[in-house]
Amino acid sequence: MTGWGKLGEKTLLRLLSMLFAAMLWLFVTLHGEGEAEIPLVIRPVNVPSGLSARVEQLSHATVRISGARILLMRQRMLGAVACLDLSGGAAGRIEFSSPEKYVRLEEGLRARYVSPGRISIFLESTN
């Protein structure tokens, strides 16, 4: 191999080593643990017939989640939903404390807390 060829090979090796190091850093960092706060959609489910559900402070709800950063990015893309089961409920106000246990997340993620900490749902008669 010529001197120029060797020089080019060495330069390429250095460049690729730096690219590899940067990629490795990104790989390890994105697989590391992190936290993120994302908007939370409250979705009442199993609403008893003859009643309708109205959620308070719907636009303000957020959830703080933790887990691998790459999964946090995915969850941010998908959004978070809390499904509140209203089966057996009667007309009036139903309050859910610790709503984080109703948040559906990707496997490997945990919901730490939801803001606001209590979610009130009004069940109103449709008649």
């Binding site: 090979e9 060495k10 390429l12 090796l13 250095r14 690729l16 080593s17 730096m18 690219l19 590899f20 190091a21 940067a22 990629m23 490795l24 850093w25 990104l26 790989f27 960092t29 994105l30 691998a68 790459i70 999964l71 990015m73 995915r74 893309m77 990707e106």
Partner: protein
């Protein structure tokens, strides 16, 4: 300015990346360049693939790549065992240029052995007799000597020349020099599998390169077709050497302790 650099979020990751890059570059420069470059292109691509697979929820690809990265170190050790062994052996050993600068020149019996080898190579080259002469260095060549013929003779150009005469029954293989003695002849060496080796090189040269890839031995090759003398070490070939260049190269590459 220094305070800002130390407290900004990018300073330490940058130091981390630079240090890792330097370590990776040092480690991979001990391997064959073409192999190292291939690995350094493929691995970042696989990492990016793994990240994208997790980001977009491609479960099967993500599972496959996670399994791959889980056993990556084991895989690399198995696939590149020869490169790693050679790299580890070269750790701490001075480079040939450094030895030359340090003024280490072989004289006395060791110098005489190398002169005899050079003389034999030139004589074989003039007669267009192909030859393969292996000098054992740090690593044992025992595994390549099982099928050879015992010789156990002093290294002289006459003996080597006579072994490689076309009608000699052991002229086809390689002769091996261990601790300054010609111990074996007619040994078969592993052929290189490197696709980058020039197509015009024949089996003898491929065997020399193959051995130098798996061991730290120095191999002298005389071409039957052209009479050209080459020296192969660590998978690299130095061709078309005359007597003086060959002697100089041998003195630079062989330490006296390997000839005693």
């Amino acid at each position: 300015m220094v305070d800002y650099a130390l407290t900004s979020g990018w300073f330490w990751p940058l130091v981390d990346i630079l240090c890792t890059g330097v370590i990776v570059c040092r480690l991979f420069s001990m391997m064959r360049a073409s192999t190292a470059i291939r690995i350094l292109i493929v691995l970042p691509l696989l990492m990016a693939g793994s990240l994208l697979a997790r980001l977009f929820g491609l479960v099967s690809i993500s599972w496959l790549l996670n399994g791959f990265f889980g056993s990556l170190i084991l895989l690399m050790v198995v696939v590149f065992q020869h490169d790693i062994r050679r790299a580890l052996l070269s750790l701490g050993r001075p480079r040939p240029e450094a030895r030359e600068e340090a003024g280490e020149h072989l004289e006395g019996e060791s110098g005489e052995i190398l002169d005899q080898l050079a003389l034999a190579a030139v004589s074989l080259s003039e007669r267009r007799n192909g030859a393969l002469i292996v000098i054992e260095r740090e690593m044992s060549l025992a595994q390549f000597m099982e099928v050879g013929t015992d010789v156990d003779a002093k290294v002289t150009s006459e003996i080597i020349s006579s072994i490689f005469l076309p009608y000699s029954p052991i002229h086809d293989g390689a002769v091996i020099i261990q601790k300054g003695k010609l111990t074996k002849a007619g040994c078969f060496l592993p052929l290189t599998q490197n696709p980058d080796v020039a197509k015009e090189l024949g089996t003898r040269h491929r065997a020399a390169i193959g051995l130098s890839e798996v061991a730290d031995a120095l191999v002298i090759v005389v071409s039957e077709e052209t009479g050209a003398i080459s020296v192969v070490s660590s998978g690299r070939i130095t061709s078309n050497l005359d007597e003086l260049q060959l002697k100089k190269l041998l003195r630079r590459s062989v330490e006296s302790r390997w000839l005693q």
